[in-house]
């Protein structure tokens, strides 16, 4: 049985900055199995975020093939990618992107609204899981950074995605909150969710099952 949930084959991504061509991702091949907790590490500008965005169907590769949950995204129309993002992938960003005028509970429900299955019970369940059951009616502005990121994680899980992509999820947090978030991600991974995290902080990702190092757009090595 094929256990691969994410598969990249000779993926490259080029940008044009004026007359200069930037090779953000250069001939990367990578397979990630279901249930893995993968950390993509590298310095700023190494191409790790671009790679994550390609996996997350937010960006198209210039060349190469990308397959997520059995769907070839390089040849899929935008409508299909929207459905894939809705049902298969959960996103967590460094900036929490919470809607400031919606309550914590409403923010978590938002992706479910787009999937036409807004479920308050499920949202409450997720917020309880991330330890924010007493903050349901608070506005994001009334939360700490760590709490906001926990809301963002709960939100990313509302549509039961098998894959969670996290781009520097602890970048705006102090070390204690960062550890809490990483523990939370580990717990989610234990429940079977495939997690791909991008960070430049090696200390945070000790618990990851796999470490992929990038430099100048290329996979340098794995451990």
């Amino acid at each position: 049985m094929n256990n691969t949930i994410i598969k990249l084959e000779h993926v490259s991504k080029e940008y044009h900055r004026g007359t200069e061509t930037v090779h953000a991702v250069n001939d990367v091949s990578l397979s990630i199995n279901k249930g893995e907790f993968v950390a993509i590490l590298g310095h700023s500008g190494s191409g790790k975020t671009t790679l994550l965005n390609i996996i997350g169907c937010l960006d198209h590769p210039t060349s190469g093939d990308v397959e997520v949950n059995g769907i070839k995204i390089s040849s899929s129309p935008e409508k299909e990618l929207t459905i894939l993002r809705k049902k298969t992938i959960g996103f967590v960003f460094q900036q929490f992107f919470l809607i400031p005028t919606l309550t914590v509970l409403q923010n978590v429900q938002l992706p479910a609204l787009f999937a036409s299955k807004a479920d308050e019970g499920k949202a409450k369940e997720l917020l309880t899981m991330v330890g924010l059951e007493k903050r349901l009616s608070h506005l994001p502005g009334q939360l700490s950074g760590g709490e906001m990121q926990r809301v963002a994680i709960a939100r990313s899980l509302i549509n039961d995605p098998p894959v969670l992509l996290a781009d520097e999820p602890t970048g705006n947090l102090d070390s204690r909150n960062a550890d809490n978030i990483m523990n939370l991600l580990s717990e989610l991974n234990d429940k079977g969710i495939t997690i791909v995290i991008v960070t430049h902080n090696h200390d945070l990702v000790k618990n990851c099952s796999r470490h992929v190092f990038m430099e100048d757009g290329k996979l340098k090595h794995e451990s």
Binding site: Q95, Q106, L110, A118
Partner: protein
């Protein structure tokens, strides 16, 4: 939670801007309601005055009418064209006429320009022609210096039967012989004089403004018009009171055009206001929209959100506007009565009704909604990667 919850929460993000945008649409809706009320009201009032309340079915005027007749009434001037008094004897041969009323009509503006008084020289036939000719006090002229006052003129001048009334313009004194009951027609604001006295005042003895005719049977209008036509010289007109009111309304058409231009300007300002507001709201929230796309929001979802935000503004703005417009219409009617229109009919010249309110509300809401299309499309077409990369 639903889309409306999200849309309403976004409006609360910048409440002052949302309220101001709603107010700009409210001004448009109010302007449209007022203008439509005035348009309908003025047309109805003129028709009521000249067609329904006068009791006159036909007028005989000199060539140039009905515009000329309308000009006399509207401008307060003295028409160079006149109907010879001899014509009355010719008309009297025509059958099925209930009353024939020769009259001399002229208007005099006070020296300070603050008021225009309408004088009408009449014969006793006026009692048969005008359906509301009843006296509140006093009675018919007792001498050639008698005057009968319309109810409003008696109130303004504070005159009673037997009082003397001095007219500065003619340097003449009249004695009030009667005061009419209020009829809510042009008569309320008119000074009635004996026909000969009126003719002498303006140096037009033997000359009439027109002859008003009341028929016994209105269904014979066309037949009698033809008979009259055949019995008077070719340079006279036989016109229906409806045609005369249309002549008056022709004077109103330029004012009407200006009013509708004002509406268009008000709506255009609102349109740009709404587009600007919604566009700002979209540009400010580019990151958010990009993120919403990341979590599966499609183009339709974002269009729906922006449309709902605009709809909330449009519904509240239009509702506020039409209600305000309906209440402001009488005030605007009074202003127009004083400032804009030379001929002012007696009834209310601003008549808002449910149909006008619904029409103005619908038009403003639809126009407002159309304004959300461009900002909505901008939001829907945001490429998340481009926004996030710039972060």
């Amino acid at each position: 939670m639903n889309y409306a919850t999200v849309a309403m929460s976004n409006l609360r993000r910048n409440p002052v801007r949302s309220v101001l945008t709603g107010l700009s649409l409210a001004i448009s809706a109010a302007t449209l309601t007022v203008v439509l009320s005035l348009d309908k009201g003025y047309t109805s009032a003129v028709t009521e005055d000249l067609v329904n309340k006068t009791g006159v079915h036909l007028y005989i005027t000199k060539e140039g009418c009905p515009i000329e007749a309308a000009s006399v009434i509207a401008q307060g001037g003295l028409s160079p064209l006149y109907v010879s008094e001899d014509i009355v004897s010719k008309i009297n041969y025509v059958q099925h006429l209930e009353a024939v009323m020769p009259f001399k009509l002229f208007a005099v503006t006070t020296n300070d320009g603050s008021r225009t008084d309408i004088f009408m020289g009449v014969t006793e036939a006026v009692k048969a022609v005008k359906p509301d000719w009843t006296y509140a006090s006093g009675g018919w002229f007792t001498s050639d210096t008698s005057v009968i006052l319309g109810a409003e003129m008696a109130r303004i001048e504070n005159l009673s039967v037997g009082d003397k009334m001095y007219t500065e313009h003619f340097n003449r004194e009249f004695v009030v012989s009667g005061i009419l009951e209020r009829s809510y027609s042009q008569d309320d604001g008119t000074f009635f004089l004996p026909l000969l006295t009126a003719q002498k005042l303006v140096g037009r003895e033997g000359k009439l403004s027109a002859v008003a005719i009341k028929l016994k049977d209105i269904s014979m209008l066309d037949e009698i018009r033809n008979q009259l036509r055949a019995s008077i010289p070719a340079d006279y007109f036989v016109i229906g009171s409806k045609e005369l009111s249309e002549g008056i309304l022709a004077f109103f058409s330029s004012t009407r055009v200006i009013m509708f231009v004002m509406v268009v300007v008000a709506i255009l300002i609102s349109v740009f206001g709404i587009i600007n507001t919604m566009l700002m709201a979209v540009l400010e929230r580019k990151k958010e929209f990009a993120y919403l796309k990341c979590v599966g929001a499609g183009k339709k979802d974002l269009l729906k959100l922006i449309s709902l935000e605009t709809l909330a503004i449009c519904l509240s703005g239009s509702a506020l506007g039409v209600v305000a417009g309906a209440f402001l219409s009488p005030l605007s009617g009074n202003m127009m009565r004083k400032l804009f229109i030379a001929y002012t009919p007696s009834g209310s010249i601003a008549r808002p009704d449910l149909l006008i309110v619904i029409f103005a509300f619908t038009v403003c809401t639809l126009i407002g909604m159309a304004c959300s299309l461009y900002p909505g499309l901008r939001a829907a077409n945001i490429v998340p990667m481009e926004v996030l990369r710039n972060e």
